[in-house]
């Protein structure tokens, strides 16, 4: 009885260490890291979602100009942890990271090396590993400050775009954990989406423009949107996307229903031979031309066109990756997994081996669906005029 009374007295008296009131926190929805003007220092920007008191806005009339719902706080320090601590000092509220939607890094920073920034993200108990990351062409903090007009918060906007793309293939998005996993493997090169900010008549928009390729943790090159698509194809397990195939007057637009790719690495004496086997199911979305083709041969012709196109694209991207010396296809990792002994012997020269490797691509496409109509208008009229 006495114990109970004592205990119940103690409870309200003791401070509640971990309690933070909602109206005393700043909810961070985006973090950006840039190189500061002074060399060696880092500019940390945090995008905060502002919340206005409900009672004030419930009686307001329309027609009032709403101020931007986000706030960008910046600080220039030598490390990320210090930057965030500094921001905390200068604001009236505590900064709350777990709801962060996206991590942005400036290209200048990425070229120097990313490993040091990963550490805080992995160590701090509040930050989460499944946050999307992206590289920004230019200054990352500008993207945070952008007022896109589409979503309230540009951090959410960006992560939504990336999430939508990852419906097609998970390779389109890179979370911190994916990035770190590739770094740890020792041979693989991480690939991160690039975000670009464009301004047209006072309307700002952010979009994904290609992907950035890293070797170890330094940015070495880029893939354009097309090349990014073929990279994603080579990684397999694709559930969507579309591409145009054909040349000259005969063009066809295909929708990818599913696409898988098996990657094999074979050692050929001193060199390495890489084989990609692409297996895909396609649907046709638009046909232009192909008037000379007779109907029974249509599917075959289209399949051929598609296969050639896919092969060409994959080879192209492989070429670019090879040129950058970046093993973005996890080839080294697959060697390690199959035969760790052999990997040991190849490990140190992997970079060279990869740049000299030969690629063989074989594509097998299957068109299952032509849509509502079977013939093009041209084909229909041609067949009417007489075969």
């Amino acid at each position: 009885m006495a114990l109970f009374a004592l205990g119940s007295l103690l409870l309200p008296l003791a401070g509640c260490w971990n309690q933070h009131e909602l109206n005393k926190t700043f909810i961070v929805t985006g973090i950006a890291l840039d190189q500061a003007e002074e060399s060696g220092l880092l500019e940390v920007s945090l995008q905060i979602e502002k919340s206005e008191p409900e009672s004030a806005s419930s009686g307001s009339e329309g027609g009032q100009e709403k101020s931007s719902p986000t706030l960008v706080l910046k600080s220039v320090k030598s490390t990320m942890a210090q930057g965030i601590a500094d921001i905390n000092l200068r604001t009236s509220r505590e900064v709350f990271i777990p709801h962060n939607q996206i991590m942005l890094f400036g290209t200048a920073l990425a070229e120097e090396g990313m490993e040091q920034y990963m550490d805080m993200l992995l160590r701090d108990p509040e930050s989460r590993m499944d946050v999307q990351m992206a590289i920004v062409d230019g200054k990352a903090s500008d993207v945070l400050a952008a007022d896109t007009g589409q979503e309230l918060v540009s951090g959410t906007h960006l992560s939504n775009i990336i999430n939508q793309q990852s419906q097609i293939s998970t390779q389109y998005s890179t979370r911190i954990t994916d990035f770190v996993r590739k770094l740890l493997s020792g041979s693989s090169s991480p690939v991160v989406p690039i975000v670009k900010l464009t301004k047209e008549n006072e309307k700002e928009s952010v979009s994904i423009e290609g992907m950035a390729v890293f070797v170890k943790d330094k940015l070495v090159g880029r893939l354009s949107n097309d090349e990014a698509q073929s990279y994603v194809w080579a990684m397999g397990d694709v559930k969507g996307g579309s591409f145009t195939a054909g040349s000259g007057d005969n063009l066809a637009v295909f929708l990818v229903d599913s696409l898988d790719c098996k990657r094999k690495v074979k050692k050929n004496g001193q060199s390495v031979r890489v084989e990609f086997e692409v297996d895909t199911v396609l649907r046709v979305s638009q046909i232009i031309g192909f008037t000379e083709v007779k109907f029974p041969d249509l599917i075959q012709k289209l399949t051929q066109t598609a296969q050639e196109e896919i092969k060409k694209k994959v080879e192209q991207t492989y070429e670019s990756a090879r040129g950058m010396g970046a093993d973005i296809y996890d080839l080294g990792l697959s060697v390690y997994r199959k035969d760790p002994g052999e990997w040991e012997s190849m490990k140190d020269q992997w970079g060279e081996l990869f740049s000299k490797s030969e690629l063989e691509v074989s594509v097998r496409a299957q068109i299952v669906d032509l849509g509502k109509s079977l013939l093009t208008i041209g084909m229909e009229s041609a067949s009417r005029e007489g075969r």
Binding site: N18, M129, V180, L184
Partner: protein, 366 residues
């Protein structure tokens, strides 16, 4: 003199064993750095290697069905040596309880409440466990069936939810590490989560089961609990892959990656609470065992009175055990496997052999 006069059924005993082993799932963090992505192999081998050890416990339990461990020690080794060994077991059980309590406090601190002093978290837990211990074995194990099922459900749900993130390649390559590492890891597993099961020898007089049932219940519980450990490790390896070695609590990292649509994406605290409750159950059980051991050794008439005091002792000891989590991990990898073997395997083995040599349970017959 029997300290706790109540008895529980054999089925409930089995559920308690399963729950006890389930609770160790969170402590896999110290295992991983040794064998990394092949830890599932070592868990499997640890389970197999420990079977004779568990059989040893069962044999001792069946040889002296009415005596708990302390009484057995006195009977087999005589009053003097028996009491000395009994004292050392008191020390060891208190050690176990404090270690687990410390783990509980650290875990909660890291994941859920970062600024609260560990003392407060541990006091909250010990108050509740002391309350339960006062009422004896029946209350302490009352909910074992329920919590065990909840544990299974949580495990199943978490596996289902991260299924799309499990990558088979994370398990390859297999058998690529030197044998020494496998041996080390297997040894660690058989001493730390599995060998702790020796505390069931303190419960012998309180469980109502026949000879045949004993095998069924003890081994059934052992394999079920071991299976949950195995599934947890496999899930973690599959999801985290090479990043596993970075983290202090890999299970929690896996749970952090659980996503059920945008809305339910940060549910790890719910899972964490469930796992912490399981750990709290383990602490409660160990607290009970410590109290019973002390009561038995010092012939305390009413063990209820020492429940809270033992709890306070455990908290104090727990706070001073290690300075930080690195020391704890190092100790678990290096020191514990060697030292604990004495209490978990060596002494019971000697007890068994001596008893057989002295043809001890002569009154009952074998």
């Amino acid at each position: 003199m029997r300290v706790d006069k109540e008895q529980i059924s054999g089925v409930r005993f089995m559920f308690t064993i399963v729950l006890y082993l389930e609770s160790s799932a969170l402590l896999t963090g110290f295992l991983i750095p040794v064998t990394r992505h092949e830890s599932w192999l070592t868990v499997l081998s640890g389970l197999i290697v420990s079977i004779p050890v568990i059989a040893l416990f069962r044999a001792i339990m069946l040889m002296f069905p009415d005596m708990n461990l302390i009484q057995v020690l006195e009977r087999v080794f005589g009053p003097v040596l028996g009491k000395v060994l009994g004292l050392s077991y008191i020390w060891w059980f208190l050690n176990l309880t404090s270690l687990n309590l410390r783990d509980l406090g650290d875990l909660t601190k890291i994941v859920i409440l970062k600024d609260t002093p560990a003392l407060v978290l541990m006091v909250l837990c010990i108050i509740v466990t002391s309350y339960a211990v006062r009422y004896g074995i029946k209350v302490v194990t009352w909910y074992s069936a329920l919590f065990m099922t909840l544990g299974f459900a949580i495990l199943a749900i978490s596996v289902l939810l991260v299924m799309n993130q499990i990558r088979f390649e994370n398990f390859l390559p297999v058998f690529s590490l030197p044998i020494k590492k496998y041996l080390h890891s297997t040894h660690m597993i058989s001493t730390i989560p599995l060998g702790e099961l020796m505390v069931i020898m303190m419960m012998t007089p309180n469980v109502r089961m026949s000879r045949k049932d004993a095998t069924k219940y003890i081994f059934g519980g052992y394999f079920l609990g071991g299976a949950t450990l195995l599934i947890t490790i496999i899930r973690d390896i599959g999801v985290l892959g090479p990043t596993m070695g970075l983290f202090a609590l890999p299970s929690l990292m896996t749970l952090r990656l659980v996503r059920l649509g945008e809305a339910l994406s940060r549910m790890e605290i719910l899972f964490a609470i469930a796992l912490i409750s399981q750990l709290a159950f383990k602490v409660m059980f160990l607290h009970y065992i410590s109290v019973i051991t002390i009561a038995q050794m010092f012939n305390v008439r009413d063990y209820k009175r020492i429940s809270l005091v033992t709890g306070a002792l455990v908290i104090a000891y727990g706070l001073t055990l290690y300075d930080n989590i690195v020391d704890h991990a190092v100790s678990a990898q290096v020191f514990a496997p060697v030292f604990w073997v004495i209490f978990e395997m060596l002494i019971p083995l000697i007890v068994f052999v001596t008893a057989k040599l002295r043809k001890l349970p002569e009154i009952r017959g074998t």
